[in-house]
Structures are given as C-alpha cells and as structure tokens.
Symmetry: C2
Subunit: 193 residues, 2 copies
DNA sequence: AACTATTGCAACCTCGAGTTGCGTTAGGCG
DNA sequence: CGCCTAACGCAACTCGAGGTTGCAATAGTT
C-alpha cells in the first residue's frame, strides 16, 4: 500500500489541482461566490498555497474560467446554412445548460467577469458570423453586413429560456429560432424573405 | 429650530424608511448583496430595528422587492397591435434599464429571488398575451394558442442586449423585434405570414 | 404621572476572506 | 550521499459583515 498521493506535490501538479478544484466547486455551487477553503480541501492543498498564487478569490475564479475557455471554439461546417445553425444552436444550449456556463451568464456586480462575458459573446458572434458569410459564398443567401446581429438574434431566445426562465430549450424552440433567422436573411436574388 | 426628525420614530414610519432605504441601496449597488449597516444608516435606523422586522438580509430584500412590484402592471391599449407591442417593448426596456430591474434579472443562487423572477415573467407574459388576443378579436390576426410564447420572443432579444451584453436597446432593435413578432402571427384569413 | 411597547446602543458571537511566521518537505546539485 | 533552498503545510492571527443579546431611553397611551 504505497502512498499514491504524495503529501507535498509541487509546481504544475498543484496548479492543475487548484484550477480543477475551483471549476469543480463553481460547478457544484452554481456560483462564482465560492469558499477558498472548499477549493483548498478539494484540491488537497493548503489555503496558503492558493493565496501564494492568486491575490484574491476573484482572481482565482477568473484564472480558472480563462483556463477552461482556452479550449478553442470549434465552429460547425456541415455544408448548409441550416445544418450549421442547427449545430450552433445545440452548442449554445449545451453551453448554457452546463453549470459553468450558467454561472458565467449570471455573473454580475460589474467586475471583470462581466467584461469577460461580453468578450465571450463578442468572440463567438464574430466566429459564428462566418457561418453566414460562407452561406452567402455558396449562394444560399445574399451577403449581409450585420451577420453578428443575426447570430445574436439566434442566441437570445435560447439564452432567455434557459437562463432567465430557468426552463428547457427543447428541440422545437431551437428549430423555430433557426427557421426564423434563416427566413429573415435576404435571398440570393436580392429580394428580402 | 425644532427637531424636524424625531430621534425615535415608530411603526409605519420606520417600516417605510427601511423599505425605501433598502431599495435605494439595491439601486445604488446594482446588486441584492447589500450591507445591512448601509440600509440602517440610510434609513436613519439602528441595525437591531431591522433585524426585529426581518430575520435575514435576504428576507428584507425580498420584502422590499415585493413592495416595489406591488404597484400593478398597466398594459397598453392603443387600439392597434403594433401600437400595443411598441408600448410594451418600451416598458420592457425601461424596466430592464432600471437598476432594480437589472438587479432582479441578475439575481442568482437558486434562492427565492430566482423564483420571484420566474413568477415576474410568467405574470407579465400572461397579461401581455391579452394584447394579442385583443388584436385577434379586432381582426388584425387569427387567434393563436401560444400568445405567451410570442411575447417571450418579443422580450428575449431586448433582455439579451441589455442584461447579457450590457448594451443599449435602441429604437431600431425594438422596432425590428416588434416587426418580427407581428409578421410571424398568422393573418386573419388563415394563411401564415 | 405611570405604564408598555418600541427603538437605540454597545457589546458580543460567528464565519469567511486574507495574512503572517515558522516548521517541514521535495528535489536539485555538488 | 548529504546539503540547500524553494515550495508547501500549518496554526494563529486580523478584519469586516451578518446576526444576536441585554439594557437603557423614548414615544404613545390611559
């Protein structure tokens, strides 16, 4: 029965444990207002060690979220606009249903997390705009200059249902939302709808 | 120079002062996480007096919000569906821009405030559904059985822009949202759009 | 004027954030 | 192998905010 868990881990191992524990606690509590002691216990690390790395609890949470979001954002490419938006809308639902996603969406207080959330959406809107641009290149619709706004219109109903109403975004809601956005795109021959 | 502010007010006067101070602090801080000492100071009342009325800070906040929301919900009645929805959408924008409204929308943690917010929306959706029902009676559109869902579709984009993106919901966004909802209503002759 | 409920006040408890000093350990290096 | 040092554990501390308690002061009532 050898000690599988060394009593004094170091460097990267501790770093990883702390970040992982932070994300775990956030997910469990559903909030970014976590207790440092909880994180310390979960990471099998002393509170002091955490404070040696991060000046405050807020900084720790911020670092954990950034670490988690570092895993790029894969955009769908199914060949059709409907296929892409369908996949996108499912990704959005999954992200908002996830405890960490929920926590990020509900972060408030005007702190750095609010700023982070804004950049989160801006970044994704920018990337998702390409889906519409590609559709235009394929001739599925005429080019638009407000693609980001149309992605926003795609996300808003799903976000409202899940986050604000704490309800479920079933497939019919997703489909209806995709339909609506596609119908509002100008057709390739120049006529609107 | 008589004492205009008696040093020991009583009963209703203290009640009102506490509720008002609570709402004021919430509006200033933009959060429901307020300091009882702040409320006490602002109300010109001792902390003990507050705890004699409310068991916890959360209960106080809840009472204050309920008191504030007690002022009924006037629904527009302009004679046309577009006029009604236009007015409604402006009311929504005003409510979400207001500090108290923002705070309520961002309340989280699974507490009673979440529940309160859900009832807040359910209540308003129910009332606003009448706007569409009345439009159907006037022959502006065919009757629908999912009026509440259509009101939700009206609110979601405005909410997302203001609360989630911390942006401005300008008149063009409001108009576009109203247009969209009206266009999706089945026309009176039975054909859709 | 006396009585009672309400309020003010000061002191206290609890809990979590964040800090400090020191002892202990891991791991590199001669 | 033994030493040296940076990283970690540990216990005790400060500090601010939530919440409590006992008692004195005050307002309204009779």
């Amino acid at each position: 029965m050898t000690a599988t868990q060394p009593s004094h881990r170091r460097g990267q191992a501790v770093d990883a444990a702390i970040i992982e524990a932070t994300l775990g606690v956030v997910a469990e509590q559903g909030t970014f207002q976590i207790r440092i002691d909880d994180v310390a216990e979960r990471a099998g690390v002393n509170k002091t060690t955490i404070y040696r790395r991060y000046d405050s609890a807020e900084e720790l949470v911020l670092a954990a979220v950034l670490h988690n979001a570092a895993a790029g954002i894969p955009m769908p490419d199914t060949g059709t606009l409907r296929g892409d938006l369908d996949a996108l809308v499912r990704m959005v639902r999954a992200a908002l249903t996830d405890p960490l996603g929920r926590a990020l969406m509900q972060a408030s207080g005007g702190g750095p997390l609010d700023e982070l959330r804004r950049r989160y959406w801006a970044e994704r809107f920018e990337l998702a705009s390409e889906l519409i641009d590609r559709a235009a290149e394929r001739g599925e619709c005429a080019p638009v200059d407000d693609a980001a706004a149309r992605i926003e219109a795609l996300v808003a109903p799903i976000h409202f249902r899940i986050i604000q109403l704490a309800g479920v975004a079933d497939d019919s809601l997703l489909a209806a939302t995709v339909d609506r956005v596609i119908e509002e795109l100008p057709s390739d021959d120049g006529s609107d709808r």
